[in-house]
Symmetry: C2
Subunit: 195 residues, 2 copies
DNA sequence: GATTAATGAATGACCATTCATTCATGATTT
DNA sequence: AAATCATGAATGAATGGTCATTCATTAATC
C-alpha cells in the first residue's frame, strides 16, 4: 500500500507545499491539503502512510531535484573557485525561484518531529557530501590552504547560505537573492581581513 | 494576571527546558512540564498566558542572559580581531555548557508557530545588532576590506556558528565545541584561499 | 475573615486516521 | 454487443485520542 507515484501523488505533494507555505505547518491539516489537491481526505492515505510521510516525501522529492541540479552544474565547472561559485549560485537561484518551497524548508519544516527529521536528514547528508567533495578538491589541488578543515568549511558554506535564505524568507522574499552570490563567494574565498 | 517573576516562574521555565530537551517539543505537554516543575497544571496559568508564552519567556530569559554575556566579554576586547574571536568563543562555549538549552534552541524551538517566532525574533535581533556593531567597527577601522557588507558578514558569522552548534547537537553533543573556535576565527578572517 | 496562591479533575476543541460504501474501468460470458 | 462480474481507486462521514485550558474548591498568609 501507499504507492508513491502517479498524478495524484504529485498533486498532493504540490498541494502540501502550497498549503504549508500559505497557512503554516500548524494549519496544514490533512483535510486542507486534500481540498487543495482536489482529492478526498481518504485518498491521501492511498498514497502516503500518514501525515509525516507527506512531509518527508515532499522534502525528498524536491530536495532530490535540488541536489541533482547542483551536482550537474558543479560538474560543468572547471576550477575549484568556479565550483564554489556554482554551489552558491545554484543554492540561491533555485530557492529564489520557488518561494513556497523556500518557506517550507526554511521555516515550516524546521520542527522537531523526530520521524520527520530522520527522513529529511538522509537527503541533507547527500547535499553535505557534495559540498565536501568540492572543498576537498580545493584542498588537494592546493588552491585552498592545506589546514582547511573540510567539515568546518562545509559548515560555513552551508550555514551562510542557509541563513541567507532564511533572512530572505523572513523579509517576505522581497529583495533579490541572486545579487548576493558574488559578495558571498568573495567572502568565502578571501575572508574579512583587508590584505 | 500572569506574573512573570518568583521562584515558581523560574522553576517552570527550567522544567520546560528539561522536558522539551528530553522528550521533544511534541511531547512537551503542559501537564508534563507542570509535573517536572512540581506544580499543579493550573499553576502554570498563574505565571504564563498560555503554552506559547512559556516557550517565548524561556527563550527570552535564557537568550537575554546569553547576549548580555557576549556583549560584556566583547567590550573587554581591544582589537576587532579579538572581538570577533570573543563572539565565536562565547557563542560556542556558552552553548557547550548548556546542552539542554542547546537542544531547545537548535532543534525544538525551530517550529513555526508565528506567535512564538515573533516573540523570539525580537531578542534575536539584539544579537544580530551586536555582531553588526563589531563588523562595522572592523570596516571603519580599516581592518576589514571596505567593500565588506555588514549584514552579509553578520549572516556568515551567525550562520556558521548556528550551523556548527546544530551539527554538534545532532551528533549528541559528543565532540568538543570550543576546539572549533580557532579554526572558525581563522576561516572568517582569512577565507579559504591559500595566499 | 479576607485576600491571594495553588490545585487538579473536568471540559471541549481539534484533527489524524479509518472504513463502509460508491464509482469507474475493463474483462468475461452469453 | 449486451449483460454481468471483478478489481481497485476514491470518497467523506464518523471515530477516538490527545491536550490546552478552565474553574470550582482548598490551602496558606496576613
Amino acid at each position: 500500500m501507499a504507492k508513491k507515484t502517479g498524478e495524484k501523488y504529485q498533486a498532493i505533494i504540490n498541494a502540501a507545499v502550497r498549503v504549508i507555505a500559505q497557512h503554516g505547518y500548524h494549519n496544514a491539516q490533512v483535510s486542507r491539503i486534500a481540498r487543495e489537491a482536489k482529492v478526498a481526505d481518504g485518498t491521501i492515505y492511498l498514497y502516503f502512510e500518514n501525515k509525516d510521510d507527506i512531509l518527508i516525501s515532499l522534502f525528498n522529492e524536491k530536495m532530490g531535484q535540488f541536489i541533482a541540479t547542483c551536482r550537474d552544474l558543479c560538474n560543468k565547472a572547471d576550477t575549484v573557485e568556479q565550483k564554489i561559485y556554482v554551489l552558491v549560485h545554484s543554492h540561491l537561484s533555485q530557492l529564489a525561484n520557488d518561494k513556497e518551497f523556500s518557506v517550507v524548508t526554511q521555516i515550516e519544516l524546521r520542527q522537531s518531529n523526530p520521524v520527520v527529521s530522520k527522513g529529511i536528514g538522509e537527503v541533507l547528508k547527500q547535499y553535505f557530501s557534495l559540498i565536501d567533495d568540492v572543498i576537498r578538491e580545493g584542498v588537494e589541488a592546493g588552491v585552498f590552504r592545506d589546514d582547511v578543515d573540510v567539515r568546518l568549511a562545509r559548515t560555513m558554506v552551508f550555514g551562510t547560505l542557509d541563513q541567507t535564505v532564511t533572512a530572505w524568507v523572513m523579509r517576505q522574499c522581497k529583495h533579490d537573492l541572486v545579487s548576493q552570490v558574488d559578495p558571498i563567494h568573495n567572502l568565502f574565498l578571501n575572508g574579512l581581513i583587508r590584505k
